[in-house]
């Protein structure tokens, strides 16, 4: 074969490859293949194109795998009943996400996660006569469990709108949940304003592991249902700043207690019992601001939460996304959280409440929390593969002293944990 015909064959092959890629990238626009290819390359250049752009389906196949290690701190001996297990929960989490374009206007995403949990968890709170302290009694036996979650979402992209449908399930030895959701977005005002909204529903069934010796009064199979609705608006304020506001309302009914927890009433630990309805409202405000001179983006979020169990909570989240040579991103962040207690919550009860409710779960207690996170992300181009690597660490500490108001009795079961995560992703 002559060199020139070999060369032209190579050129043709390379051209076909680039065109395929360009076609994938500019799937929505009706441009000629040559113009696709040139436009795609030109728009990858810095500082050429404006940024407001319609939502488009993903154009490449994406696979992401992540592994996280969640480790709760052992409780200090001053906070547990004498002779008690102090080690707490450990969870290992494997997550897999697969995303693929489906035709020119659709994409699908599948999220799978598998968790293995082990360790002891808070059972009930008691008053230790000897030390005069409020102490945590832990579940004696080590719990071993696995959870598998799957969520499939398909999104269809219209010219200025998107519509998505999702369905998923979650399975544990003693728990099954099935959920469905629908959501949509619509762009206005030259794509600078986006309205979004959605509905979701979840059907859960719990079938607690029975323990005839320690907890003969543990409930049998129970159900719960919940429905949620959300609406949001995001607004691009300038080329570097965008804000978003979202309101979410959720209604849950059915068995909302924790079958494995108890609360001490007049010296006797009785099964946890909570209302059979809960209405929750969450208002979220987000700010994203890019600082070109620093090549970094500020993410500032505030979340307000209120429910009819009288829990009111505030979350402030600040993160800085620093790009380094477009290869590496470093994201330090800090989050502060504070909540008030549920009206029926008490660490323990001297006498039964008139409504028969009781719960000493630390999650319903008044507390505040601080968490510090650092995350690094790198991108590497390996032949045709766009490879991403990430690693992160989070330290979370909760304490009654961190809460907004004054807390008389801190729940001894408040959790502090370390979370390590690593991940790898590929686009091809």
């Amino acid at each position: 074969m002559s060199t020139s015909s070999k060369r032209s064959r190579q050129l043709r092959a390379r051209r076909a490859r680039l065109r395929r890629r360009a076609r994938r990238k500019a799937a929505v626009a009706k441009l000629s293949p040559a113009l696709h290819a040139l436009t795609t390359s030109a728009l990858a250049l810095p500082g050429i194109a404006g940024s407001a752009s319609a939502a488009t389906p993903i154009s490449e196949y994406t696979a992401e795998y992540g592994y996280s290690q969640y480790r709760e701190d052992a409780l200090p001996s001053s906070k547990v009943a004498p002779g008690q297990e102090r080690e707490r929960y450990e969870i290992d989490i494997h997550q897999l996400r697969l995303a693929a374009p489906l035709g020119q206007r659709m994409d699908v995403t599948l999220d799978l996660s598998h968790e293995t949990m082990s360790g002891a968890s808070p059972w009930y709170v008691d008053f230790d006569q000897q030390s005069g302290r409020v102490v945590q009694v832990m579940s004696g036996a080590t719990i071993d469990d696995r959870r598998t979650d799957a969520l499939l979402q398909g999104t269809y992209y219209f010219d200025r709108s998107t519509a998505a449908l999702s369905g998923g399930f979650s399975i544990e030895k003693d728990y099954r949940a099935f959920n469905v959701g629908i959501e949509g977005t619509r762009e206005f005002n030259e794509k600078n304003t986006t309205l979004s909204g959605g509905l979701g529903a979840s059907f859960d069934q719990i079938d607690p592991t029975q323990d005839p010796i320690l907890a003969p009064d543990r409930p049998g199979r129970e159900d719960k249902q919940s429905a949620s609705i959300f609406a949001g608006v995001s607004q691009v304020l300038s080329r570097s700043t965008a804000i978003q506001g979202t309101a979410t309302y959720q209604h849950a009914r059915g068995f909302l207690s924790d079958p494995y927890k108890r609360a001490v009433v007049a010296g006797t630990p009785l099964p946890d019992r909570r209302p059979d309805q809960r209405n929750q409202l969450a208002l979220l405000a987000r700010l994203r601001s890019h600082f070109e001179a620093l090549n970094g983006t500020l993410h500032a979020d505030y979340n307000y939460y209120l429910d009819d169990w009288s829990i009111e909570a505030h979350t402030f989240d600040l993160a800085w996304h620093q790009s380094i040579f477009d290869l590496l991103r470093v994201i330090p962040s800090i989050r502060y959280y504070s909540q008030s207690q549920a009206d029926f919550y008490a660490p323990f009860y001297f006498a039964p409440r008139g409504d028969g409710l009781r719960a000493s779960d630390y999650r319903l207690s008044p507390f505040g929390a601080l968490s510090y996170r650092i995350r690094g992300e790198a991108r590497i181009q390996l032949f045709e593969l766009d490879l991403g690597l990430n690693a992160g660490y989070e330290r979370y500490e909760s304490d009654a002293d961190l809460a907004f108001g004054r807390v008389t009795t801190e729940n001894p079961g408040l959790v502090s944990f370390d979370l390590f995560s690593i991940g790898i992703s590929g686009r091809f």
Binding site: L43, L45, R239
Partner: protein, 320 residues
Amino acid sequence: MRFEQIRFRAMGSPCALHLYAANAETVRSLASACRAEIARLESKYTRYRDDSLTSRLNRSAGDPRGVRVDDETAGLLDYAQTAHCESGGLFDLTSGVLRRAWDFRSGRLPSRAAVDALLERVGWQRVRWQRPRLVLPISGMEVDFGGLVKEYAADRVAELCRRRGARHGLVDLGGDLAVVGPHPDGRPWQVGIRDPQDGRRALAVVSVFRGGVATSGDYERCMLIDGVRYGHLLDPRTGWPVRGPRSVSVLAPHCLIAGTTSTIAMLSGDSGADAWLASVGLPHARVDRDGALRTHWPVSPASECPPARVAPRASVPSIR
């Protein structure tokens, strides 16, 4: 609203910024930012300065380690590679060395041997480009960003104006045009297609709402030998001038794309230009060697370039 025209020379050409702004102070600061950006790109990519990146790349020819380039240059190299592929090898960043054989002022044709010797050092396919490293494996090879940078600069400057809040204006870098935005009353910019015989006369005027316009032609540098016109556009595959249209102007979503499309049209020759332009499907005007003008340029406002749609760039905070 104030309208100002700022004229200056840059990149070897007369340039102009036509800008609308609230007051003279805004125009001045905008213009100085634009000129600083043009100067930055010129000093980075010129081949007339030893300290430019282009000179550094060219000095590395023959060194198998090559040079690691920054993101902007990598973007331009990726773009050039795409253009090379799309044009079947006509658009070639390495074709500049052929100029050594062709002295358009001398009025003499180079020897075939001289051209063939230079051809050994020409061809993007000989280059090893693996982001972020560029290797020019053959000593004496050169890359020349001259066919890209003026157009790219026009796009960058127009975008810079928009980022600084300007909504109406036109950037003209030696005939490579990028629209900041139409006139404040919504009218398009009227752009003249130059008469290749007489640079001051417009053969036609076309309306441009947005995007960029670029013109390639052989009226700038050429020689006439025995009645044959040898233009400055050299086919990188043969090393000889291409006999094609006298000029081609293209309207595209970006000036860079317009420039590449018109250059490839010129290099495609008389026979290939129309097929190439038709395959790209952008509005264009072609002036043939007999001076005849043919336009495929819808004149109604509906002729607005299709806005390019791609996924948002990473720099922009998007909230979902």
